[in-house]
Symmetry: D3
């Protein structure tokens, strides 16, 4: 049995609050259990050099991921002079996941930077970051569209993510830090709202796994991800009603 009376296939309590930043075009604080990630989407009206002369014109979206030093049980040093390997891996995943649901040709001449800053880390920061970042991005593109800076809605799907693990042959959904430390297999699944998979990343920690388990994981992830869409929509709806 997991701690906190959670069933194996339950994800933790999730709460997304949109528009938590005065300056960024879109923003959301996501709380997934004790994990908290501050997500913002900032827009600059320029594109990186490698897209300057692309034809047809297209915009760009990039993500950065970092932790506050006090986000972890033992204080983590700020990543200087350079982003660490783990953070690079995560911010590349966030960027790919969001680019998977936005048509950047509909955002010519602008760059959206999504910042995911982990305020508190209790496992699942990369999936929480994707879930919160989608809300921040959605807010930002809505504003761009309403203000006429872009001509059509560039987002063609919702996106959300969840981790599913296997421990002693049992599936465990949405691993917290302690569970993650003792898991046999840790898989992150990113899906769109038509049920398609955008990304899977799974690593066997102690024992290898098989394709039947892989399929089982996808099913569990799909169920949780449907809940996350609702939570994302609610956060955005609250915002529109303000």
């Amino acid at each position: 049995m997991r701690s906190s009376d959670r069933k194996n296939t339950d994800m933790r309590a999730i709460k997304i609050t949109a528009d938590i930043n005065k300056f960024a075009m879109g923003s959301a604080l996501i709380e997934l259990g004790d994990t908290k990630v501050h997500c913002t989407a900032s827009v600059a009206f320029t594109v990186p050099r490698f897209l300057r002369h692309s034809n047809p014109a297209q915009g760009w979206l990039t993500a950065e991921y970092a932790m506050l030093p006090s986000a972890t049980p033992t204080r983590t040093k700020r990543e200087r002079p350079q982003v660490g390997g783990r953070s690079q891996e995560i911010q590349r995943l966030i960027g790919r996941s969001l680019r998977g649901v936005i048509d950047l040709h509909k955002c010519p001449d602008l760059t959206i930077t999504v910042d995911c800053d982990v305020i508190q880390a209790d496992g699942g920061t990369r999936t929480a970051a994707i879930n919160g970042a989608y809300v921040a991005l959605r807010m930002a593109t809505d504003k761009l569209y309403r203000s006429g800076r872009i001509d059509s809605d560039p987002i063609h799907h919702k996106v959300a993510a969840i981790s599913v693990g296997i421990k002693d042959g049992e599936y465990l959904c949405d691993l917290d830090y302690e569970e993650d430390s003792n898991i046999d297999l840790d898989m992150n699944v990113v899906m769109t709202d038509d049920g398609g998979i955008l990304e899977v990343q799974g690593t066997a920690e102690n024992r290898s796994f098989n394709k039947e388990q892989l399929a089982g994981i996808i099913d569990i992830a799909a169920a949780s991800i449907r809940n996350i869409y609702q939570c994302q929509e609610q956060a955005l709806a609250n915002l529109r009603n303000d």
Copy 2:
């Protein structure tokens, strides 16, 4: 007249919430108008090399200051590969101010790292950081004392800080970002609760000032700082009552 019906000698609304982090030994979120700083005090049971063999033994306290990229009206790049000059100046000020009220000989063999991460920046981030950091530090030393890791309370004074400016000959207390951009003189004052001054830093932006103005600034700062002590005490009292 300032925006928001604030009188020239009024500081902005201030709110400090203690214990906002699951992992750090002490923590506080300070809101000073629209400025928000996440302050934590983390403790490691070791000291830097230059204090390894100090006699008598003493601990150390150091501060780091950073901004989330989305804290500013235009997104600020993360400071890599190195901390920028302004951040260095600020984190050195925070460290000196806190070291001014703690007896590190009463904290042998431990290092307290205070992290001040600006969530939103609307002027006065360095003074807000000192005010919030004091609460985080106080929480941390209380826990160290209660748990027997240190033998006596090492903090001998409260410390708080405020900025006071001069514009067209008028004093302005607690400058926000817009006021700060057009000021003639910007002074930061750090004081202890016996009325002593720990640090003054003042820079004439457009025209020089004189010693009578310097004295006037100290008076205004002292009045605001008394309010800040109350706010700090309230945050700590709420915590003890929980």
Copy 3:
């Protein structure tokens, strides 16, 4: 139809030559089509700080991945001052894959560094690197065992990897650079010789995929990986016969 008369489920010609370096304890050059990776395993008789006092004692294995500047169609700058995000991602994958088949408790007090330097890059460098690195590692642990530096064979499984993609609904095994540039889904699969999966990493480039496709990919990967084991074994056998 693919170029070079390759069937969709065929991998490219693979050739592994062991013992190609005078100094490293283990070494192999792997050629996978036009991709060439120089793999070595070097041993140092010390462990990183975080394992100094581990109980029971264990050794460590780490991997580094880099490209010669001339490995790519357009010259690639050397990664300075820091390893790029993509290289970090790859070298972390190589390290995890090899650690997945070695019992580091059987290698106390030593660190194995696997270097994978891409001499020529035509797609699939990360899977080629894993396949060649296994041979270099196997050579190194054999020498350690024969010389009495370790007491038992620490490697409990063979490991190999292959990429499988999906293009217009068709599976394509072992993508070369050109195929990789236009693929809908690119998946890397790392497996052990008991048929277990150690790692999957898949990214939808243009359209999302489903769990049936995921299962299909595993089947194709498994078939190719069985061929790779034979090639690895042949390289090691040639060596022993010299």
Copy 4:
């Protein structure tokens, strides 16, 4: 009593030699007791990016501060890869002080870089740097004006600086290294020749101070600074007579 028969309100012997560099547009060597700083003002006919399109056009002035490794009793490492926090703080102070007396709108399209390299450090290097840098700057702007590169004299005031400390309740002017190590309060004061204050920076090291002491410090600083103006003028006069 201080060492060297200096009265508490006396500054150390000061000597400024102008035009000590063949290449820089302005230069001065300042000796303040045993402290020696090599100051130069170099001019480039371009402005930093953030001023490229300023309207009205304006130039820029920036300062750099560094120490020769052998300037200090124990050899100091060169600051690489980055400028240290203390040097950043000092060079920012030098830059602000000089910008406080020059009208950069009278220097369109050019950047003046002031380099202050400490040859020998015996306390007071930041104030010595400001005093010497003013002479180098004055030389450089005189040359720019005489050669017609600028249309009018951009310097509207003289500037000079001095440190004043408090030890056991007594004021001490122009602290040397040994005095600085045991001081209760160390204040740096930068003033213009109309008696105005440009910058104050004061830090209580052991005990806090009050506003009466602050006023006392300003008086002592003002007296010394009047001497420094004479020394600066003499250095420039010698130059013109050559």
Copy 5:
């Protein structure tokens, strides 16, 4: 007597294989005893900023030198964040030597980057690099000329290099790693095929030397370098016959 029955004035077995890289415009693998260097010449159709507006127009040639970590008896760390002093010295030598035999005014608007990556290091890597790099460069300029990207052959001489040492008064040609470790004088000589010297670099390790010895070294170097030209020509001839 040297190891391996080599006479003192003999260089080691040398083998150059041209065209060993699919992507670079020119390439060669040079083996000099157990030393192996992978040399490529890549061409970009742009020039560095400092040559942008040169009149008459000219191209540029630059060299980079690095070692694979496993090239040395003890694994060498990759040079990050920066190129080490020794590598800088060597790559500057390679660049100067090649620029000494090419007329860059005949290569306007293009930059040739020569990469010398040491696969295995057993002494003499810098001279091996020059010898192999010449072949790669020759291949690249031939292709540029044949394809009409340049109007005439820019290479006006062949260039080759060899080391000669002195040990106990005896000359030793082409030092391997072990010999190099105990030498009294180590000299590198770069010559063109008209017998002229392009560069000498000699360092006394234990005892100083005189000008007669310097002359003797030049004679021995000249003889070996004539052999190297033949080897370079053979590699290029094989290529043309393919």
Copy 6:
């Protein structure tokens, strides 16, 4: 004819002033024409890690070379984050030259750091640095010996250096910056006072040279270097007489 009525085989006016720094154990300012280099030798009572356990014990000597930004006709940026290739090459040369005349086994457990900071650069900075550094080193070892920190004089030879060039077939001794910019061959020669050569470094800029010219250069260098020894001795003698 050279500027300034200098004959081709004349070096420029040379002046060495010893003991110009209050803190370093040895120091000298060398002026060679308009080139000025500030040389110091600092001593630390420790050795680098690679010599910690050397048997027999030995000390270490290392050199650093840098330019003040204003040392050159156009201001040179400070070398950050890293030492540039040219400076590395020069500081390695200075270190080797000095290590060539000192027996480090006579200096166990200490490290001498020689800093050569170019105050003004008009050609020949590397040879000036060696000449001045020898005086600083000599002062430092004399003090170490007199104070009993070392048991015998570790310096067994004097060392000095000079550049000699060839222009249109004529030898030119001690090139200044302008001459150096148009030279056919630039050679630096480092010699000991027994007439031995410690190091030669020569680069053909426009046309190659031959061994007869090499011999001619050595003769000219030797004559100038004899003058430099006298100048070094005079600087040290003045010191002893003070």
